[in-house]
Subunit: 502 residues, 2 copies
C-alpha cells in the first residue's frame, strides 16, 4: 500500500537477481568444497541447473530454454570481448599461422568429417535427415568453447605454446563456426542446391569475416580516440571500453557482417592503445570487470543448459547421439595430427606429440554450440528438437568426462608445464633485439619475410597511429626505463612488506 | 540475408548504445572545452537532451518521458549505492547528529514552508489545486540531488565539515523525501483526511525507514559473508558487491520498506568489511565501476530531463512556477540558519555563517525530483502535467543558475577550502588515541556519552562481527603497521620514478 512499486513491477529484476545469486552461491560452494580439484566449474553449474530445472518442471510445469536473442545479443558479446582483450598479444601474433591453420582449415575439416560420419550412419536414425541439415548440425557441434577450454587449461598450467594454440584456436574457431553456420542456415532454406550456391556461401563467408575485421579495426580507432580525450574524466573510461566494442558488435550485426569477429578484433587490437591511455585504476577496473561479466554470462549459459535438460520437448535418438559423440572426439584427433605435421614444418619451436594429443582432447563444447542449436529454424530443420538433445549430450559428455580427465592426462603424458619465471628486464630487451636481428638478416639476404612486414607495421604504428591515438606514445627505450622503474618499485615494496612481516 | 539477427532484434540494444555513446561524446566535448570552468556538467547534458528532444519532436513527433519503473528500478539504485559506498565513513558518523537534523527536521520544515507559500498564492493559479496536492508537490520538490550537489562541491574543494554536511544531508534527504512522498501519495487518494490518517502516515514513515535500515544491515551480513568465502574466486567478487545491494533494494521494495534507505545503509556499512575481504584489484574495480555506473545513470536522467522539455504535454503556469522557484530558494535559507544555530550549540567545531549560506545555496534539485514527479498518478493529481513543467523549471534554474554561481560565491565569501594535507601516520595514531581519551574521561566522570557507545559498538564489531565476516580481522596495531608499510612503499616508488624522470 505504501509503495508505488508493486510486486508485479519488481518481478523481472527480482528473477534475474535470483538466478545470479544462485550462480554466485553455487560457485562459492564449488570452490569451498574439494570437488574443484576433480571436475571443472562448468559441470557444477550444469548440475545445479539440472536440479533447478527438474524442480521447476515438476512443480510448476515450466519449460525453460535459452532464447537465441538473449544469447546472441547479450551473453555472447561480453564473452567474446573478454576473450579478445585478454589474449596474450605478442604470443598470439607469433603463433598466428598455426592458430589460423587449426581454426580455419581444421574447423572446416572437422565439419566435413563429422557430417560424413553422420551421413554414413543415417539409415539407422529414427527419421531421415537431409545432408544439408547434417552439415549444419556438424558445423554448430564443431564450435569449441573458449571459456570451457580456458577454465580447464588455466588450472593445469600447460606450457605457453600449447596454451596459446588451444586458446587461440577455440577463439577463432567460434568465429568461423558462427559465420559458416549462418551461410549454411541460409542454404538450408533453398530447395535445390547448385554449385553457384556453394560459391556464394564461400564468397559470403569471406565477405562477412573481412567485414567484421574492418569494422572491428574502425572501432579500435573510436575507442582509442575516446579514451585519449577522456583522460580528465576517468569515470567514463570503463564505460567507453565496454560500450564501444559492444557498439562494434551491434554495428557488424546490423550490416550483416560477423559481430563476433568484429568484437574479438576490437578487443584484441584496442588493448595496446588503452594501455597507454587508461590510468592504473581504470585499467584494472576494465580488465577485472570484463572478466566478471564474461564469467557471469558463461555461467548463465551453463545454467540454462542444465535447466533445459529436463525439458519436455527432448527427442532421444540413441544412435544419432552416440555417433555424434564418438565422431566429435575422434575427428579432432584425425584432423589435429596431420595439421600439426604441416605446421611443424614451418615452426622453429615444434609442437610435440603429447601436446597434439592435448590439443585434440581439449576440444570441449559449450555455450556456443548450445546457443547456435537453439537458433535453428524449426520449420526448416525438422529434427531440431532431436539435435538440441544431442547437443546437450555432447556438451555434457565433453565437459564432464573430458573436462575432468584432462588434468590427470596432462600428468600421465608428462606434458611440459609452465614454470613460473622471474620477471627479468633482459627478456624485454632481448625480445626487441631478436626481432631487429631477424629483420636485419632478412634485409641482408634480400628476403621479405614475416619479420620484414612485422617491422614495417610496427613502424607505421609507432610513427602514425600511436601519436594520434595515445596520450603518451613512448619510444622502446622509454618503455624499458618505465618497466625497470616499475619492477624496482614493486620489488622494494615487497621487501619492505616482508621486513615488517605483514 | 546472411545473418539471422535482423534489424528488428538489434533495435533495443542499438538505441541504448546510441544514447550512451551520445552521453560519452557530450561529456568528452564538455571536458575538452573551457566551459567546464563556468557551468556544471549536468547542465550540458540537459542542454544536449533539449536539442535532441527538439529534433525528435520536430522531425518524428516523438514525445519522450522517463518511465517511473525505469527510474526507480534501474537508475536510482546504482546512484544510491555509490553514494552510500563512497560516503566518508568516519566523518559521517562524527557529524551524524547535524546531518540528521538537516535531513529529517530540515526537510520536513522545507516541505511545510514551501507548501504554505504555495497555498498562500493559490488564488492566482490557473486551476485550483487542493492543499494535499500542493503538499505532495512540495515534498518531491524538496529532494536535494546528491549527485548534482557532489559534482559541484567536488570541483570547488570546500572544507571537509561543510562537504560532509552538504553531502550527507542531500543523501538522507532523498530517503526522507521518497518515504514521505509515498505516504502522502497514499493519503492523496483518500477523500476526507482525518487525524488518524496523519498518525498513520507518521507511523508508516517510521516503519518504512526502520525496515529499510534493518534489511540493509541484513544484506551487509550477506555481502560480507559472500565476499569472505569467495576469496579464491576473485572474478565473482565485483558481481557480489553490486548484485547483493541491488537485491537488498528489491527485497525492501517488495516488502514495502524503503529501498533507498536499505541500499544506502547496505553500501555504507558493508564497506569496512569489504575492505578486509577484497583484494586490491577487486576493491579498485568495485569502487571505480560503481562510480561509472552511478555517473552514467545520473547522466541518463539529465538527458531524459532535457528530452522532455519539448514535450507537447507541458502546461505552463507562470505564477505557480515563479512562486515555486522563489520558495525553494528562500525556504532553504530560512530553515538552515535556525537549525545550524541549534546544531552549533552541541558542536565542538562550529559551522560558520558563510558555510551556512553555502549549505542553503547548494540545494540543487535534480534526478530525484524529476523521477518522483513522473510517478504522480494523473487520475488523483489532476495538475500533474503542470507540476512536471514546474519541476523541470526548478531543476533547470537550480542546476544552471545556482550550479554555475556557487563556485564564484565560495570565492567571494572566502569560504574555508580544504588544503591538501600530507598523509601522516601520526594522524591515524591520534585519531584512535583521541577516541580512547574521550571515552576514558567520560568513564572517569561517570557519564555515558556518544564516545562510550561508540567504543562499545566498536568492541562488539571487533570481537564478534569481524572474526565472522572478514578473512583477516586485524588489531588496531597491525592495521597501523600495514598502513606504515604501504605509505613507505608508495613513497619509495614515487622517489624511484622521479629519479628516472618517468
Amino acid at each position: 500500500m505504501l509503495s508505488q512499486l508493486e510486486w508485479h513491477d519488481v518481478d523481472t529484476p527480482l528473477i534475474i537477481c535470483f538466478w545470479l545469486t544462485s550462480i554466485v552461491v553455487a560457485k562459492i560452494i564449488f570452490h569451498q568444497s574439494k570437488i574443484g580439484h576433480f571436475i571443472p566449474e562448468s559441470s557444477v553449474l550444469i548440475t545445479f541447473g539440472l536440479f533447478a530445472g527438474f524442480m521447476l518442471e515438476y512443480f510448476f510445469g515450466w519449460d525453460i530454454s535459452l532464447h537465441p536473442d538473449l544469447f546472441f545479443l547479450y551473453l555472447l558479446p561480453p564473452i567474446a570481448l573478454e576473450a579478445g582483450y585478454c589474449l596474450p598479444f605478442r604470443m598470439f601474433f607469433k603463433n598466428i599461422g598455426t592458430i589460423l591453420l587449426y581454426a580455419v582449415v581444421g574447423t572446416c575439416l572437422n565439419i566435413l568429417f563429422i557430417s560424413g560420419i553422420l551421413y554414413l550412419f543415417s539409415p539407422y536414425y529414427q527419421n531421415s535427415i537431409p545432408y544439408i541439415d547434417l552439415l549444419l548440425f556438424s558445423t554448430l557441434i564443431s564450435a569449441v568453447d573458449p571459456v570451457a577450454v580456458l577454465s580447464v587449461f588455466e588450472e593445469i598450467h600447460v606450457n605457453q605454446i600449447l596454451y596459446i594454440n588451444v586458446f587461440g584456436e577455440s577463439l577463432l574457431n567460434d568465429a568461423v563456426v558462427i559465420v559458416l553456420y549462418h551461410s549454411l542456415a541460409h542454404m538450408a532454406t533453398i530447395e535445390k542446391i547448385e554449385s553457384e550456391h556453394v560459391q556464394e556461401a564461400v564468397g559470403s563467408f569471406l565477405t562477412v569475416a573481412t567485414g567484421g575485421v574492418i569494422i572491428g579495426l574502425l572501432f579500435v580507432f573510436f575507442t582509442a580516440f575516446a579514451t585519449k580525450f577522456s583522460v580528465k574524466i576517468e569515470v567514463v573510461q570503463p564505460l567507453i571500453c565496454l560500450l564501444l566494442p559492444y557498439c562494434c558488435y551491434l554495428a557488424c550485426e546490423s550490416v550483416h557482417m560477423s559481430g563476433i569477429i568484429g568484437i574479438v578484433t576490437c578487443g584484441l587490437m584496442m588493448k595496446p592503445y588503452l594501455d597507454g591511455n587508461l590510468s592504473e585504476k581504470t585499467k584494472t577496473t576494465t580488465k577485472v570487470f570484463m572478466k566478471t561479466m564474461s564469467n557471469t554470462c558463461e555461467a548463465i549459459v551453463f545454467l540454462f543448459l542444465g535447466l533445459s535438460i529436463f525439458s519436455k520437448s527432448h527427442i532421444w535418438d540413441f544412435i544419432f547421439a552416440s555417433v555424434t559423440v564418438s565422431a566429435c572426439v575422434l575427428v579432432r584427433f584425425v584432423v589435429v595430427i596431420p595439421l600439426t605435421f604441416l605446421a611443424n614444418r614451418r615452426r622453429v619451436k615444434k609442437i610435440a606429440l603429447v601436446d597434439q594429443a592435448i590439443i585434440a582432447y581439449g576440444g570441449l563444447r559449450g555455450a556456443i554450440c548450445y546457443g547456435l542449436v537453439q537458433t535453428l529454424d524449426q520449420d526448416v530443420i525438422l529434427s531440431k528438437d532431436m539435435m538440441i538433445t544431442t547437443t546437450v549430450v555432447v556438451i555434457v559428455f565433453t565437459v564432464f568426462i573430458q573436462g575432468s580427465t584432462i588434468a590427470p592426462l596432462v600428468k600421465l603424458l608428462r606434458v611440459k608445464t609452465e614454470e613460473e619465471k622471474p620477471q627479468l628486464i633482459s627478456t624485454h630487451v632481448l625480445n626487441g633485439f631478436s626481432d631487429d636481428v631477424m629483420a636485419g638478416i632478412e634485409a641482408v639476404i634480400g628476403k621479405r619475410g614475416g619479420n620484414y612486414y612485422r617491422r614495417r607495421l610496427s613502424a607505421f604504428n609507432h610513427d602514425i597511429l600511436e601519436p594520434n591515438l595515445m596520450i603518451r606514445p613512448t619510444s622502446r627505450g622509454a618503455r624499458l626505463v618505465e618497466k625497470v622503474c616499475e619492477m624496482n618499485a614493486e620489488e622494494s615494496r615487497k621487501m619492505l612488506l616482508e621486513t615488517f612481516e605483514v
